[in-house]
Symmetry: C2
Subunit: 321 residues, 2 copies
C-alpha cells in the first residue's frame, strides 16, 4: 500500500515494443514508438527495449513484420531524434545475430543488449554477450523457460555466467507458471550461484502473478525489472509498467506520463490486438507449458471453447511439450 525505499535499487526495463511486438508482429508506428519513448522518459523509466537486434539474414523474415523486429541503427537515429534519460535496449537471440550488424556502443543508439537463451545454449550466449560487452554495451543474459530446466543443467549455466563479463543475469518466467514462492526460491538460487552479478526479472501474467512475482524479486534485491505499458506482451502479457511506477513511489518516478500513453494509444490497440488474462493462457500457465498452444487456440475458431482446450492440454497423448 505504501511506497517505500525498499525499491531504490531497482530500474524498470520497459519491453512494450519488443515483447508487445510478439502480439502485433511489431506493427508499431514511428509516432507510437516516439510517444512511448517520451512518456517513459518523462515517467523516469530507466530503459526502453525498442526491439530485437536479430539479423534478417539469420532469422526467416515474413516480410510483414515491423522495423522493430530487425533494428537498424540508421533507422533508430531517425526515430529517436534526441536521446534523453531513458536508455535504449535491444534483445537478441542466440544464433540469430550477425556481429557485423552491431556497431560499437559509441556509434550506436543502443546502450544495453540482452541475450535471450535457453540454458542449453549458455556458452553461445556468453560468447555473444562478451562480444557486446567488448563493444562497450551493458549486457544481460536472460535464461528462458527456467521452470523447464533440470537443476544440474541450470547450475552449470550459472557457474559459467558467473565467470563471464556479463553484467546482469535474468530470471525469466517464460510460461507465466511461477508463483511468489517459486520466485523467492529462484532469486535465492541465482544469488548464491552468481556472486559477481546483478540480477533481473521478466515475468508473464498467465496466473495474474506477474506483478506480485516482480515485487518479490525486487524486495529481494533484484535490480532490473521488466515490464510493459498496459501489460502488452506475448499471450498473457507482462508486469504492467504503470503498476511498477505506481508502487515504487520514488521521487524520480511519475505515473502520469505513462497513463497518457495508455490513454492515447493502448486502449485502441487493445481493441485490435489481444493480450492479457485469457483462459487458455491461464491453462498453459497452470500446466507449466509454452503459451504457443494457447495462442494457436485463440487464433482458431475454437477460441472460446475452454473446456475442449483444457481436455486437450491435460490428455498426455494429444499435446506434449
Amino acid at each position: 500500500m505504501t511506497g517505500n525505499s525498499m525499491f531504490n535499487h531497482c530500474k524498470i526495463v520497459d519491453c512494450t515494443i519488443r515483447d508487445g511486438g510478439l502480439v502485433n508482429n511489431w506493427d508499431f508506428s514511428v509516432e507510437f514508438v516516439q510517444d512511448l519513448y517520451e512518456s517513459l522518459n518523462a515517467s523516469g523509466v530507466e530503459y526502453m527495449e525498442i526491439g530485437y537486434k536479430n539479423s534478417p539474414k539469420l532469422l526467416k523474415s515474413e516480410g510483414k513484420e515491423g522495423p522493430w523486429r530487425f533494428l537498424d541503427d540508421e533507422f533508430l537515429r531517425k526515430v529517436i531524434k534526441e536521446k534523453k534519460r531513458t536508455k535504449l535496449s535491444a534483445l537478441v537471440d542466440v544464433g540469430r545475430v550477425d556481429e557485423v550488424d552491431v556497431l560499437n556502443r559509441s556509434e550506436s543508439m543502443l546502450d544495453l543488449i540482452r541475450v535471450a537463451t535457453y540454458a542449453r545454449d549458455t556458452e553461445k550466449a556468453i560468447e555473444l554477450g562478451t562480444l557486446f560487452h567488448n563493444r562497450g554495451y551493458e549486457t544481460t543474459i536472460n535464461i528462458m523457460a527456467l521452470s523447464n530446466v533440470m537443476d544440474n543443467e541450470l547450475n552449470e549455466s550459472l557457474a559459467m555466467i558467473n565467470d563471464s563479463p556479463i553484467d546482469v543475469v535474468y530470471i525469466v518466467d517464460s510460461f507465466g507458471s511461477l508463483d511468489p514462492d517459486d520466485m523467492r526460491y529462484l532469486v535465492e538460487k541465482f544469488r548464491r550461484a552468481l556472486k559477481n552479478k546483478r540480477l533481473g526479472v521478466h515475468t508473464h501474467n498467465n496466473m495474474q502473478l506477474a506483478f506480485a512475482n516482480t515485487l518479490v524479486a525486487a524486495q529481494m534485491g533484484v535490480e532490473l525489472l521488466d515490464a510493459s505499458v498496459y501489460g502488452m506482451g506475448r499471450a498473457a502479457g507482462n508486469t504492467n509498467t504503470e503498476l511498477l511506477l505506481a508502487k515504487m513511489t520514488r521521487p524520480e518516478y511519475n505515473l502520469r506520463p505513462v497513463l497518457g500513453m495508455i490513454e492515447k494509444h493502448m486502449i485502441k490497440l487493445r481493441e485490435k490486438e489481444e493480450w492479457g488474462y485469457l483462459i487458455p493462457d491461464m491453462i498453459t500457465g497452470t500446466l507449466d507449458e509454452h503459451p504457443r498452444s494457447a495462442m494457436g487456440w485463440r487464433a482458431s475458431e475454437k477460441r472460446d471453447l475452454f473446456t475442449e482446450f483444457y481436455d486437450k492440454m491435460t490428455t498426455p497423448e494429444i499435446f506434449s511439450k
Copy 2:
C-alpha cells in the same frame, strides 16, 4: 507452480452472484445461477454466496435490481432444487436486515450468513451475527475498508469480536489497495487479536494483486477464501475462482466445470458488463480510495481520459475521501 498440501485447510467462498451483482445490478437469470451452482458444486467449491439478504424495507430498492439483491427463501427453493455439497451463503449489511425475514437455518436454504460492517459498527455487527448464530447459521463478520481504519479502533473491534460467538472474521481489502506485505501484516494482527476465531479473506484486483494476496493469506492459515468466477466483482473485481482451483490442486477440486461456466456465460457477460483491471480502478487502488469515483468515471463520457482522472484524484481540493 506446484500444487501442495499447504492449502488443505482452505475453503473457497464464491461471490460471483453477490459481488458480481454490484456490477450488473444483480441481473442474473435463474439459469445462470443454477449453472453456476452446478459448476461450483462439480468443481468442489465449498460455498456459493448467492446474494444479499438485506430487506427491501430497510434499503431503498430501485425496483430494477435482480432477485439476488433481496434474497427470499421461497424463491431460493425454486432456484436450487437440490442442495448438493456446495453450501449457500448470503451477505447482510448492518442496519439493513429485518430479523423477521431470517428463518431458522433448519428451515432455510442458507448455511452461512456473513455480516459486512465498518469497524465503527462492530457492536451492531456482533449483535446481528449473534442472532444468526442463535438461529443455527455459520456466521462471519467482514470488516470492510481495513486500510482506512485507525489502529486503536480496529483493536477494539477485534477484541469485541473475539468474545462473541461469531465463527469467522474476514480481512477485507475493499479498495484493492493492499499488497502482500500488508496482507501478511493484517493476518498476523488478526491472528494475535482473535485467538478464538477462524479467519477469512476478501480481495479486490485493482493492483492485480488479488490472487497473490489471497495466496499469502491462505499460506498463513486463513481458511475462507473469497473469489469470483472470471473475477466478476465490483470495479476491478475479485480473486478468480478458477485461479484458486488451478492452484490448490486438492483431489476434491476440479477446474474443468468452472471453465465450462466461463465458456457458457462469463465471456458474453463480460462483453456487456465491465469489471477487471481498468486504469481508473488501478488509480483508486494505488491511492487507497473507494472505487466509487473510478466507477463513476467509467460510466461517464470521460471514461478513457485517464490523466484527467488522475489529476482530479491527486488534487486534494477536488476529490476527498
